[in-house]
């Protein structure tokens, strides 16, 4: 499914882009991240644990930064599994300066496979956007900004 959203974060555009385009730092922004392994300057794997009222969901993901334009654009693809379910995503983030902060808009193609596709069909879009939101908030913190707007 196609999901999109936007958010303004209180971090300078260059600094935020630097986080989002660096596998090591990008990995750190993932919710409940663990077992990070950096393959090269574009690829990394990590186990994320996005938390909802249901509990923490363990998803082992392989990410790749497939496209980048300094300070303005980054496209990341990911493929992960959780038991017999599978999550595949490609998310494109576009950054624009917004005063002191950065306006980020994203659009993603998210595909869930397995029984979760059925169970989470109503919520996938919301859940994904919430996770992107959390990543950007964490990214803002990592980029040196003290708080978000």
């Amino acid at each position: 499914m196609i999901v999109s959203g936007s958010r303004t974060v209180a971090a300078p555009r260059d600094a935020l882009w630097a986080v989002l385009s660096d596998p090591a730092r990008l990995a750190e922004t993932l919710p409940g991240v663990g077992d990070v392994s950096i393959e090269d300057e574009h690829r990394f794997s990590a186990v994320a644990h996005p938390v909802t009222a249901l509990g923490a969901t363990r998803v082992a993901m392989d990410f790749e930064i497939v496209e980048q334009r300094p300070s303005e654009h980054v496209r990341i693809s990911g493929l992960g599994s959780a038991g017999e379910n599978q999550l595949q995503l490609t998310v494109a983030l576009d950054l624009a300066a917004d005063g002191e902060g950065t306006a980020v808009s994203w659009s993603a193609d998210v595909q869930l496979r397995g029984v979760w596709r059925s169970l989470l069909q109503r919520g996938l879009g919301s859940l994904f956007n919430e996770q992107v939101d959390a990543v950007l908030a964490a990214g803002a913190l990592l980029s040196g900004a003290s708080n978000e707007r």
Partner: protein
């Protein structure tokens, strides 16, 4: 005493028993019920064996993907994991299953697990055997499967286009079967008709009658004897054996199948042979019994679905007086990823070519296609209900478009009561029926006049009233020779079932049958006919519960499927009981020193009709034959076993491959249903206000059981019409693989069903009964008809079997849009 019937010009004369009636035809409470009500049933998940391991299947998340690697090392290292099995191993251990399709689809290589490629979401790619079910599931998460995704095709028509991704390279296309059925002269009819009604597209959706008990098995490959024991709820074991045996090198003498209680089947449990094969291989590999219980999501995603069928370019020639001459249509049946009972669906519908009507000219261009979806299996009403629904749609549409009354149009075109036995354009013989009377009865049960008044009163209220009619057939007792219409090389024809009725050592009467019931009450009805023939009470007859290949008797067609038990199963029981009766009388006459003609059987005694005091209990007969045989004259001792087997075989011939004609089924139970629905203008929500089901199935052995089948089939139809539909996204992901989103109809959803009763005994069966239980999908036709009746003028036709709120909402909206309606009329 039997009466030869001579008027059956279509079949050799048969004898119908006159002995039935004391118990047959009565609402005898079921023998099965005590154990089921007390929780004492033995379902497959209730069974266990010493040293058994539990199986968990790892399933493909992809609908179409190459499997590049499977790593089981981490899984096998877990303490308590006994074994794993991968597709790669299966490719070496198993021969591809026998295929019923002719070339090119006959070249399909189908295995019990994905070998090299997964072709639908949920297809098993590996299996784990472990000491507990929990551990098997835990350890399965450690199996690493690498996939290379492939393009997915889920549309049953787009899949045969040249650019579609091919599922099975060995076939070279996604066509599972193609052929044209051409009866009469449809071109002449279209040319000479006063009107031709053209319908663009009708779609019969994918659903399952999904039994409450999922599939399961306890399988043990005995290393000592080499016998593989399958304790399973598969509902057609001899069909399963035909696939499993050659695939893994087992003769029928090395396969044992058994089941006691089965928690519903409806056809969906016929094609579980793939899982049984995998379990057998795992058992051999691990040297242990293996147990598997399918979860509901596995069942919904990866057991079997009912056939989805799309009808394109329907043309219906109609005369000014309303006579419908026939129709032509292109049908595309979506079989999913593999042909596992298919392509039999490509011919089974031909049992009911003209539906309930006197249509003379029919052409069906039929394509069975393959897609990246769960393989289909025979689901209640299999292949016929799709066709019958299309016919009922076109009858309604003709009525609406040409301004005929729907009731009058049906009555005009129905096969008339005096025309039975009626020969259809393709040579099938409808045995008996009275469709106009059934329609009258159904309309009476819904208070048709009152409903019409409510409909008028509700006009413009926002709560639209619609009245619907559905007339369908439940053809029973297959002639398996029809398989030769799709593949002339197949070695099948006719049908049959076996039973043994014996007088046991201490005077007990025991019946064993080759059937595998799933709630149809075979123990009870078999006891009823046996009791009638042997002059005793059903309580005194023991019918072995369930299927047991070793202990019971069987033929190649044994099982419980396709509306035939009342004919084939009871035909076999009656034949065996008559043989036993003859033997008992012979021995009794000898012991009483009388003529056989002086003997009668009553209350478990052999006695002289003229002097009931002169009587021998059955135990006396048994004791003499089994333990005191020296007192019997030699010729009796040599000829009497008190262990009587009979195989009932319907009088079929082999159908003609070239003309695609023949007698494809023996009996034709029929249904006329009627409903009143309310359609909410604002939301499209449909509420059933009144529902009537009039079913006719010949002479009933146990009317209560028959009515229960009518209720059940109606429930499935209502559920499918309004709530139950398997939907895949473009990626081939099933969007409702649990009961949370596959809404199995509840007690609030199935309406109060008024049933009506008409009895037209079949002249072709030994007891006048017809097979029944599938129900023909009458509710699907009825509800579509009622919704269409509720729509405003100018609305699009009801084009789908499944009509959820949103679809009905769109139909309501279509009236104002004044766009294409999906139908046009060309008049001369």
């Amino acid at each position: 005493m039997s009466t030869p019937r001579s008027e059956t010009t279509f079949y050799p004369a048969i004898e119908q028993s006159e002995r039935l009636g004391n118990w047959s035809g009565k609402n005898v409470p079921r023998k099965e019920d005590k154990r089921l009500l007390k929780g004492q049933g033995a379902f497959v998940d209730d069974l266990w064996m010493h040293r058994q391991g539990h199986v968990h299947f790892v399933r493909s998340p992809y609908a179409h993907a190459r499997i590049t690697a499977i790593d089981v090392a981490r899984c096998e290292a877990v303490p308590g994991v006994y074994a794993t099995l991968t597709g790669e191993e299966v490719g070496e251990l198993q021969q591809p299953y026998f295929q019923m399709a002719p070339e090119p689809a006959g070249a399909m290589k189908d295995y019990c697990m994905a070998v090299g490629k997964a072709r639908y979401m949920g297809e098993p790619v590996a299996a784990v055997l472990a000491e507990s079910a929990e551990l098997a599931r835990d350890a399965a998460e450690l199996i690493e499967v690498s996939y290379e995704p492939l393009p997915v095709v889920v549309d049953g028509i787009a899949t045969i286009e040249p650019d579609a991704p091919v599922l099975h390279e060995e076939i070279g296309s996604n066509v599972g079967w193609h052929g044209t059925y051409d009866y009469g002269d449809i071109d002449w009819a279209i040319e000479n008709a006063d009107h031709v009604v053209r319908i663009d597209r009708l779609h019969f959706h994918r659903f399952s009658s999904t039994p409450l008990e999922t599939s399961g098995a306890l399988v043990n490959w005995d290393p000592g004897t080499g016998v593989v024991e399958f304790r399973t709820n598969n509902q057609m074991p001899m069909f399963a054996a035909m696939f499993i045996g050659p695939a893994i090198g087992l003769g029928i003498d090395h396969m044992q199948f058994s089941s006691q209680d089965i928690g519903g089947g409806f056809g969906i449990k016929i094609t579980s042979y793939t899982y049984l094969t995998a379990l057998a291989l795992l058992s051999r590999k691990a040297g242990r019994p293996v147990k598997w219980s399918e979860s509901r999501w596995e069942h919904l995603a990866a057991s079997a679905h009912g056939n989805e069928r799309t009808f394109l370019d329907i043309e219906v020639p109609v005369m000014n007086d309303g006579t419908i001459l026939g129709f032509k249509v292109r049908a595309f049946d979506d079989a999913g990823a593999y042909l596992r009972y298919e392509p039999l669906g490509a011919v089974i519908w031909a049992q009911v070519v003209p539906g309930n009507y006197r249509f003379k000219h029919v052409r069906v261009d039929y394509t069975e296609s393959l897609t990246n979806k769960c393989p289909v299996g025979p689901n209640r009403g299999y292949s016929r209900l799709q066709h019958l629904w299309m016919i009922e749609r076109l009858v309604d549409i003709v009525a609406n478009e040409l301004g005929f009354d729907r009731v009058a149009l049906r009555k005009l075109n129905y096969v008339q009561p005096e025309e039975f036995p009626y020969e259809t354009p393709n040579g099938c013989i409808y045995d008996s029926g009275d469709y106009p009377a059934m329609l009258d009865r159904a309309l009476e049960l819904i208070d048709y006049e009152g409903a019409l008044a409510r409909q008028r009163a509700s006009a413009r209220s926002g709560r639209r009233i619609g009245i619907g009619i559905g007339s369908t057939l439940d053809s029973g007792t297959n002639n398996f020779g029809q398989s030769r219409i799709i593949n002339s090389a197949l070695p099948f024809s006719g049908n049959g079932e076996a039973a043994i009725v014996r007088l046991d050592l201490y005077g007990e009467v025991t019946v064993t049958i080759g059937t595998s019931p799933q709630g149809q009450g075979h123990e009870t009805t078999a006891a009823q006919v046996t009791a009638d023939i042997l002059g005793m009470s059903p309580d005194q007859v023991h019918v072995a519960a369930g299927y047991n290949k070793a202990a019971n008797t069987y033929v190649g067609f044994s099982g419980t499927y396709a509306s035939q038990f009342a004919v084939t199963g009871l035909g076999a029981v009656m034949g065996a009981a008559e043989k036993l009766r003859g033997e008992i009388i012979k021995v009794g006459a000898c012991m009483l020193g009388s003529e056989e003609s002086d003997i009668e059987l009553a209350d478990g005694f052999v006695r002289l009709a003229a002097n009931p005091e002169a009587a021998i209990p059955f135990i006396g007969i048994a004791a003499t034959v089994f333990a005191n045989v020296a007192e019997l004259p030699g010729e009796l001792a040599d000829s009497v076993t008190l262990n009587c087997r009979y195989v009932y075989r319907p009088p079929f011939e082999v159908p003609d491959h070239e003309t695609k004609t023949g007698k494809l089924t023996l009996t034709y139970a029929s249904q006329v249903h009627a409903a009143v629905v309310e359609v909410d203008d604002e939301t499209g929500q449909v509420t059933i206000l009144d529902y009537a089901a009039v079913d006719e199935c010949g002479r009933k052995v146990n009317p209560m059981i028959v009515e229960g089948q009518v209720h059940g089939a109606t429930g499935h139809g209502v559920g499918a019409a309004l709530y139950e539909s398997f939907e895949y996204d473009a990626d081939g992901q099933l969007l409702n693989s649990t009961f949370a989103d596959y809404h199995a109809a509840t007690s609030l959803d199935v309406p109060h069903i008024r049933t009506g009763d008409i009895e037209c005994p079949s002249p072709f069966t030994p007891n006048g009964a017809k097979g029944m239980g599938e129900g023909g999908g009458a509710p699907l036709s009825t509800i579509a008809s009622a919704i269409e009746d509720a729509l405003p003028d100018g609305a699009h036709i009801v084009f789908d079997t499944h009509n959820n709120s949103e679809r009905v909402f769109e139909l309501l909206r279509s009236a104002a849009a004044a766009g294409p309606r999906g139908v046009e009329v060309i008049s001369r």
